[in-house]
C-alpha cells in the first residue's frame, strides 16, 4: 500500500513540470469561452451557446490533460527512465495502478481551477446532480488516462505519437457534442456521436448543470462506467506487458 502511495505521490510532485502547457491550455480555455463562444452565441438564437460550449470545453480540458499520459509514458520509454522504475522494490501492479491513479488525480487538479471558472459561467441547478456527475467525470478521467497510457505504450516516437493523437482528436472531438448538439449533425455523425465517450461525458455534465434541453439516460451512465473499466483494464494489461514483456504480478 505504501509503495502504491509513493508512486501516486511521485506523479503528483511532477505536477508543475508542465507549467507552460497548463498555463497556455488554461488561457486557451478562457479565450475559447469568453471570446470565441461568446461571439458565436450571437449567431445562434435557440440555444445559450456560451453555456453549451463551456460545458463541452470543460470536458475537452479533462480529455487533453488525461491524454497527456501518452506523452509522459512515451517520453519515459524513449529516455529509459522505465528501467530505473523497474528496479524499485514494488510490484508491477502497484506501479501501473499507482501511475494511472496519479495521472488521473493530476488531471483533476489541473482541471479544477478551470472547472470553478466554468461554474461561474454556467451556474448549476442541484448540488446532488452536480456531485454525482463529478463522480462520473472522475471515472471518465480515469478512463481517458488509461487510453493515454495504452497509446503511449505503443509508440515512443514523438512524430508518430503526435500523428496518432492528432488523428484521434480530429475526429473524436468533432464527432461529439462538445461543440454542437446532436440535432445539428448529419445522420452518420449522430450515429458515431452516440458511441463517443466525449458526447456521453459532455451530455452528463450538461445534465449535472441543469442546462436547458439536457438529459441523462442509463445508457450514458453505463457507457461512461464501462468505458472507464474497460480502458483501465486494458491499460493495466498493455502497460504491464510493455514494461518488461511479462503480465502484471
Amino acid at each position: 500500500m505504501n509503495n502504491f502511495l509513493n508512486v501516486i505521490e511521485r506523479d503528483l510532485k511532477r505536477l508543475w513540470n508542465y507549467k507552460i502547457f497548463i498555463f497556455t491550455n488554461a488561457i486557451t480555455f478562457l479565450v475559447q469561452i469568453f471570446i470565441y463562444a461568446f461571439i458565436l452565441d450571437f449567431l445562434v438564437d435557440d440555444l445559450n451557446y456560451t453555456q453549451f460550449y463551456a460545458a463541452g470545453v470543460a470536458i475537452l480540458t479533462l480529455w487533453s490533460f488525461g491524454m497527456w499520459a501518452a506523452w509522459e509514458i512515451a517520453d519515459e520509454r524513449s529516455e529509459g527512465v522505465i528501467d530505473y522504475h523497474l528496479t524499485l522494490p514494488l510490484s508491477r501492479t502497484e506501479y501501473v495502478l499507482g501511475r494511472m491513479i496519479g495521472g488521473t488525480l493530476r488531471t483533476i487538479i489541473y482541471s479544477l481551477p478551470l472547472f470553478i471558472i466554468f461554474l461561474f459561467v454556467t451556474g448549476f441547478g442541484s448540488i446532488l446532480n452536480l456531485l454525482s456527475v463529478f463522480g462520473l467525470l472522475f471515472l471518465f478521467a480515469f478512463g481517458v488516462t488509461g487510453f493515454g497510457v495504452i497509446i503511449g505504450s505503443f509508440s515512443k516516437e514523438h512524430t508518430k505519437l503526435s500523428f496518432i493523437l492528432g488523428l484521434i482528436d480530429a475526429f473524436l472531438i468533432r464527432l461529439s457534442t462538445i461543440y454542437y448538439p446532436e440535432r445539428a449533425m448529419q445522420y452518420w455523425m449522430q450515429f458515431i456521436s452516440r458511441v463517443n465517450p466525449l458526447t456521453q461525458a459532455s451530455d452528463a455534465l450538461r445534465w449535472g448543470l441543469n442546462l436547458p434541453g439536457s438529459s441523462i439516460t442509463l445508457y450514458t451512465i453505463l457507457f461512461l462506467v464501462l468505458f472507464s473499466i474497460i480502458l483501465v483494464g486494458v491499460a493495466i494489461r498493455v502497460y504491464s506487458r510493455r514494461l518488461e514483456g511479462g503480465l502484471a504480478t
Binding site: 450571437f42 449567431l43 488523428l167 480530429a170 461543440y179
Partner: protein, 253 residues
C-alpha cells in the same frame, strides 16, 4: 543560384514533417467538413451577411491553414538553434542576406502548397468569379504567407528561451485565430467592446476578408481599403523585421 539551393532545401525539409502536415490537413478538413457543416445548421442569424456558415468559413479555414503551415518555419528555426545546425548553415558559401530572404520565400511557398487543397475545396463550394480574381486570391495568400512566415522567424530568433518562445507563440496564435474574422463576421465581433478593433488589426482578418470577397460576390463588400493596405503593411513590416532579427541572430549564433 545559392538562394534557389536554400529554397530547395527548405522545400525538401517541409516533407520531413509529413506526419505533422497530414494531421494538420486532416484537422483543417474536419474543421470545415464536419465542424462548420454542423455548426451551419445551428446558425439562425442571417442578417449579418451570413446566409450559410459553411460558405463563410471555407475561405477562413484556407487562411487558417496558411497560418498553421507558416509557423512551422519558426519551429524549424528554433530547432536549428537547439541542435546547433545553424552553425553548419552559416558556414555555407552563401550571402547571409540571400540566405534569410530565401528562407522567408521558401516558408511562404511551403504554406501555399499546404493551403492550396483547402483553397480548392473552398472554390468547389463557393465557385469563383473570374481568373483574375483567382490570381488576386493567390497573390493575397502569398503576401500573407510571407508576413506570417517572417513573424514566426521573428519569434524564433528574438526570443532565445524555449519556454518563453512557446508561450509567445501560443499567445500570438490565440490573438491571430480568435481575434480575426476567420470564424465570425466583423459586425458580430463588434458586439463585444474592443473586438472590432482587434479584428481590424489582425492579419488573418485581412486575408480572410480579401479571399472571401474575391471568391464570393455576396462578400465583395467585406474587402476594405484597410484590408489591402493592412495586409501589405503587415507583410512588409514583418519581412523587414524578420530580416533584421534573423540577421542579428545569425551574427550572435
Amino acid at each position: 543560384m545559392s538562394m534557389l539551393a536554400i529554397m530547395e532545401r527548405d522545400l525538401r525539409n517541409f516533407f520531413k514533417y509529413k506526419y505533422w502536415i497530414v494531421v494538420l490537413l486532416i484537422t483543417n478538413l474536419a474543421d470545415l467538413l464536419i465542424m462548420a457543416a454542423s455548426f451551419s445548421n445551428l446558425v439562425t442569424e442571417t442578417s449579418l451577411l451570413l446566409s450559410d456558415y459553411l460558405i463563410f468559413f471555407a475561405p477562413g479555414i484556407t487562411v487558417l491553414s496558411l497560418f498553421g503551415a507558416s509557423f512551422i518555419m519558426g519551429i524549424e528555426v528554433s530547432q536549428e538553434r537547439h541542435s546547433e545546425r545553424i552553425h553548419y548553415l552559416l558556414s555555407l558559401p552563401i550571402n547571409r542576406f540571400q540566405f534569410i530572404v530565401a528562407r522567408a520565400f521558401a516558408g511562404a511557398i511551403r504554406s501555399m502548397i499546404f493551403s492550396i487543397p483547402l483553397l480548392i475545396i473552398a472554390i468547389i463550394m463557393i465557385g469563383f468569379q473570374s481568373f483574375l480574381n483567382l490570381i488576386f486570391v493567390l497573390g493575397a495568400l502569398f503576401v500573407l504567407a510571407m508576413g506570417l512566415t517572417s513573424l514566426s522567424i521573428i519569434l524564433a530568433t528574438a526570443i532565445q528561451n524555449t519556454r518563453r518562445y512557446q508561450l509567445a507563440r501560443g499567445f500570438i496564435s490565440m490573438w491571430l485565430m480568435f481575434g480575426s474574422t476567420v470564424f465570425y463576421p466583423r459586425d458580430v465581433m463588434a458586439y463585444i467592446p474592443g473586438m472590432g478593433i482587434i479584428a481590424d488589426i489582425n492579419p488573418l482578418s485581412f486575408g480572410a476578408n480579401i479571399v472571401r470577397g474575391l471568391l464570393d460576390p455576396a462578400y465583395a463588400s467585406t474587402i476594405r481599403a484597410l484590408d489591402i493596405i493592412g495586409l501589405l503593411l503587415f507583410s512588409g513590416l514583418m519581412v523587414y523585421l524578420g530580416l533584421y532579427f534573423y540577421n542579428r541572430y545569425t551574427k550572435t549564433a
